[in-house]
């Protein structure tokens, strides 16, 4: 990502592509399972593929497939999708200052392609200190890779869903969690960040009973609040090494 060479559009695009590779690997089983679940939940193969093409939101698609299987009404499914995807508003707000000078022909697709995975990869690139003018190409590389992979995996899953039963028993739903664990660990570079993550995680466990993943949104807000407070009481120049950050866990 950080190279001494002069940044180019193509270089940024492929750097974004490469940085997203591990996340794409983590999303593969998730996409296949969605395709498989979609067709077994009562959606047509066309609608299952269409949902990946036009909605492109992993967890919301899973929940929607589950609700379709449970014969839930359409307006409730759409409302649930809205609530589940509200966290993207938080991502969108985070990225807004970096993309403010981009024209609409960039903002529309980049907004459409905003996912948990691309967000984390891209925000890491944007916060690097170099002033490359092509960081949105990095975003594009990440987003195009995630999107293409999601479509292929959905197709594969639609086919697999009609042939292999009980894909979930293979523990493939853990692939995404393990990917997120890897991402989280590399993001925690200071004590306030660690404190915010611990606060959000514990809150999410306590609030797990709330409907429609609302607990996740509330937990995220509590985590941000904890991080901001921690930052205001700690000297800002303290940048924890992995060793010292690990020690805070017991506080």
């Amino acid at each position: 990502m950080t190279s001494s060479t002069v940044p180019t559009r193509r270089g940024e695009f492929w750097a974004g592509f490469r940085a997203t590779l591990p996340l794409v690997v983590g999303a593969i089983p998730f996409g296949i399972i969605f395709g498989a679940l979609g067709v077994t939940s009562g959606l047509s193969p066309m609608a299952t593929v269409g949902m990946s093409l036009f909605v492109f939101a992993g967890s919301a698609q899973f929940i929607a497939a589950g609700l379709v299987a449970g014969q839930v009404g359409m307006s409730i499914i759409i409302f649930t999708t809205f609530i589940v995807n509200l966290r993207h508003a938080l991502y969108s707000a985070t990225l807004a200052p970096y993309v403010r000078n981009l024209p609409q022909k960039w903002l529309l697709p980049l907004g459409f392609w905003l996912t948990d995975e691309s967000f984390v990869v891209v925000v890491t690139r944007y916060t690097q200190p170099d002033d490359s003018p092509y960081k949105h190409w990095y975003y594009l590389g990440s987003a195009v890779f995630m999107y293409t992979n999601w479509q292929l995996c959905t197709l594969l899953g639609v086919v697999a869903g009609q042939t292999i039963p009980d894909l979930r028993n293979w523990g493939l739903d853990f692939a995404l969690i393990v990917t997120f664990i890897g991402m989280l660990i590399t993001l925690i570079t200071s004590r306030p960040l660690l404190i915010s993550a611990v606060a959000a995680g514990l809150s999410a466990v306590l609030l797990n009973g709330l409907e429609n993943k609302l607990g996740l949104v509330v937990a995220a807000l509590l985590g941000v609040a904890a991080g901001v407070m921690a930052e205001s009481v700690m000297p800002p120049e303290v940048k924890a090494t992995p060793e010292t950050a690990g020690g805070v866990r017991h506080e």
Binding site: V25, M183, L184, V205, V228
Partner: protein, 111 residues
């Protein structure tokens, strides 16, 4: 159910928070405090997804801190690998392998 309307509706309510906030906030000068607070968003969201997934039983939603919780065991191993190696692909491979090995051990032990 009309699948076309369902997907169109889901598309709309997903696209609005993704694109709309980005497009609107880009026009306003954001205070430095807000900007600094937003840096916490990526880790808190990940943590809020991970912890319930590894600590709670997926069927009844209860806290499960036993050795029978294979997500917890594999999650801890994956976390250690990520921390020591900073290598995401390695973390995924070892984490998944740990899950399968642990489940196999549980099955062997449980009969």
């Amino acid at each position: 159910m009309n699948e076309f309307v369902l997907i169109a509706g889901m598309m709309l309510v997903t696209f609005i928070p993704r694109y709309g906030v980005m497009a609107l906030l880009g026009r306003i000068e954001m205070p430095g405090r807000v900007f600094r607070a937003l840096r916490f968003v990526p880790p808190v969201v990940l943590s809020a997804i991970i912890l319930p997934a590894v600590l709670l039983n997926s069927e009844d939603g209860r806290l499960d801190l036993t050795l029978r919780n294979s997500f917890l065991i594999a999650g801890i191993i994956a976390g250690l690998v990520a921390w020591r190696s900073k290598n995401l692909l390695l973390t995924i491979v070892v984490g998944m392998a740990a899950l399968w090995v642990w489940r196999w051990l549980l099955m062997s032990a449980g009969g």
